[in-house]
């Protein structure tokens, strides 16, 4: 700080302090007000465990879907020229700026029982996504995948593709080029995108409750359970569950901090 020759600036320091406090205080509040004495019992209640388990598998499934479908999409957007590309990019990243509950309604109109795709599906096999755990995964994917795609796309397009030419000229097959050159070079943005998508999926609320509904053990993820608890006055349960989510998220953030700085 002083080595760079820039003096100490009280205005910047002050504003930064306020910003830091803004985030630290609520988290501190959670820790202080937590019902520590009954914590274990609260967290291991069947509702809490159901909610946490559901959150875990749904968010992991969402992340896996993001990887499987989001990677090719990001590749397409970064590497291939085609007409209407701007439109595709706009539409696939729209969920990022859309209020999640709007996303939920849109999902109902498309995949609900009377939806564009949902209706033929229901008539054909009698299955519809709302009220099911797959429905939760769909809702979470809708809001989380765009984050993955955008992050990965930027990593792919900022990479020097001529390095792939060099690898081919050295005798590497396309798969080897991908494995030994492309992947290592986009690894930071790949990791960042995955973490972003996962954490967005964990915290998803509006689209989930609107599209998938709320049923413990089936569609009641942790954020829903927390909301139900706090709105019925069971603040202690809400805080306990919230703390679990905070701790898990913090652990993931810290664990991936250094490696997800883009190359």
């Amino acid at each position: 700080m002083s080595r760079s020759g820039q003096g100490f600036n009280p205005v910047i320091a002050g504003l930064a302090a306020i910003a830091a406090l803004f985030f630290i205080l609520p988290l501190t509040g959670l820790v202080i007000r937590a019902p520590w004495s009954s914590m274990t019992k609260t967290i291991t209640s069947s509702t809490s465990l159901d909610a946490l388990w559901l959150t875990l598998i749904a968010s992991l499934a969402t992340t896996a879907l993001a990887l499987i479908f989001g990677f090719p999409l990001a590749w397409l957007l970064a590497r291939v020229q085609f007409r209407g590309k701007a439109l595709v990019r706009g539409l696939t990243t729209l969920p990022m700026v859309l209020p999640p509950v709007v996303g939920g309604i849109a999902l109902l109109l498309a995949y609900g029982r009377r939806g564009l795709v949902g209706e033929p599906l229901y008539s054909a096999v009698g299955f519809s996504l709302p009220f099911t755990t797959p429905g939760v995964i769909v809702a979470e994917s809708f809001v989380a995948m765009p984050f993955f795609v955008i992050t990965l796309e930027s990593g792919l397009s900022s990479m020097n593709t001529r390095l792939e030419d060099a690898a081919r000229s050295l005798g590497a097959s396309r798969l080897t080029v991908f494995r030994r050159v492309t992947l290592p070079l986009i690894a930071p943005s790949l990791l960042a995108g995955t973490v972003l998508a996962w954490s967005r999926a964990v915290g998803e609320f509006g689209a989930t409750i609107t599209f998938a509904g709320n049923l413990p053990g089936v569609t009641q993820t942790a954020p829903l359970a927390i909301y139900i608890s706090q709105s019925s006055g069971k603040i202690d349960e809400a805080i306990a569950l919230s703390l679990v989510l905070v701790v898990v998220s913090l652990a993931v953030m810290i664990g991936t901090r250094n490696r997800s700085r883009s190359a």
């Binding site: 320091a13 709302p130 009220f131 709105s231």
Partner: protein, 267 residues
């Protein structure tokens, strides 16, 4: 160098203290309140926290109240009664609380945030199904069929408690596909066609018009929901609160409630 660090630390602490003091001192009420104790003339804003099932009726009452009292504006916050009670206990700035059951009203009065609630209306439950009743549901026991998707209110919401009572009275175990946070969400799930049936208030079925159909619940299985209303002790607009409650309890308000399908209060 060391001086810089010390100075920054002091500045941070000072600015943080200033920020916290500003936050603590600045909790002034939002509405412009001019409560004149002597006159009966009401003014300003009246904030009403009302159960979701009261929406259509209270919107109408609110309009009429504003017409009768120029210079007043009524603002509504509709949600599940338990959610509203929680907000009130967290010191949300409300003038009036109208709950869909006495249990949630009690949590507010027990905390000494209000006293002397009065029942102003009652409601019964009804099964709501899609227009034309495609699944041919005729009774509460039909809801137990595995191929019927039933949405209900979550059990901490008044309508949810009432629903559980109905199921108990009918001797039926129903597996819902979703427990919604307010009765309006149940209505949405049914009218959108996602759920085949939902247990809602009679007034909700009436309000849905031709978007849905209703299946009556016989009196021996049904419950009567009593709706109490109260002015909050910390109401920013106490006169406004009293005037509004009087309007609701008065003939004009009761007429509106009746037109939306509410029944008069028991007791």
């Amino acid at each position: 160098m060391r001086n810089d660090r010390a100075r920054m630390g002091v500045a941070v602490i000072c600015l943080a203290i200033v920020a916290m003091l500003a936050a603590a001192c600045g909790t002034s009420s939002s509405s412009t309140v001019r409560t004149t104790s002597a006159s009966q003339k009401v003014s300003g804003t009246v904030v009403v926290f009302a159960a979701a099932s009261l929406k259509d009726a209270f919107d109408q009452i609110g309009k009429q109240f504003e017409q009768a009292n120029p210079g007043v504006s009524v603002k509504f916050n509709y949600a599940g009664s338990s959610s509203l009670a929680t907000q009130i206990k967290q010191a949300a700035p409300a003038d009036v609380f109208a709950s869909a059951d006495t249990t949630n009203m009690d949590t507010v009065t027990n905390d000494n945030l209000a006293s002397g609630p009065k029942n102003f209306a009652s409601n019964t439950l009804e099964i709501m199904v899609g227009a034309g009743n495609p699944k041919h549901i005729k009774s509460v026991s039909d809801l137990a069929n595995s191929d019927v998707k039933v949405a209900v209110c979550a059990s901490d919401v008044p309508c949810g408690k009432y629903t559980q009572e109905v199921f108990k009275k009918a001797g039926v175990t129903v597996q819902p596909v979703s427990e919604e946070t307010s009765v309006s969400s149940v209505v949405t799930k049914v009218t959108l066609g996602e759920a085949d049936a939902g247990v809602v208030y009679t007034t909700d079925v009436k309000a849905a018009g031709d978007k849905a159909a209703g299946v009556a619940i016989p009196a021996d299985q049904n419950v009567t929901a009593e709706y109490p209303i109260v002015a909050l002790k910390d109401a920013p607009n106490k006169d406004g609160a009293t005037a509004f409650i009087n309007y609701v309890l008065g003939s004009a308000g009761q007429k509106v409630l009746e037109s939306f399908g509410f029944k008069p209060a028991g007791k």
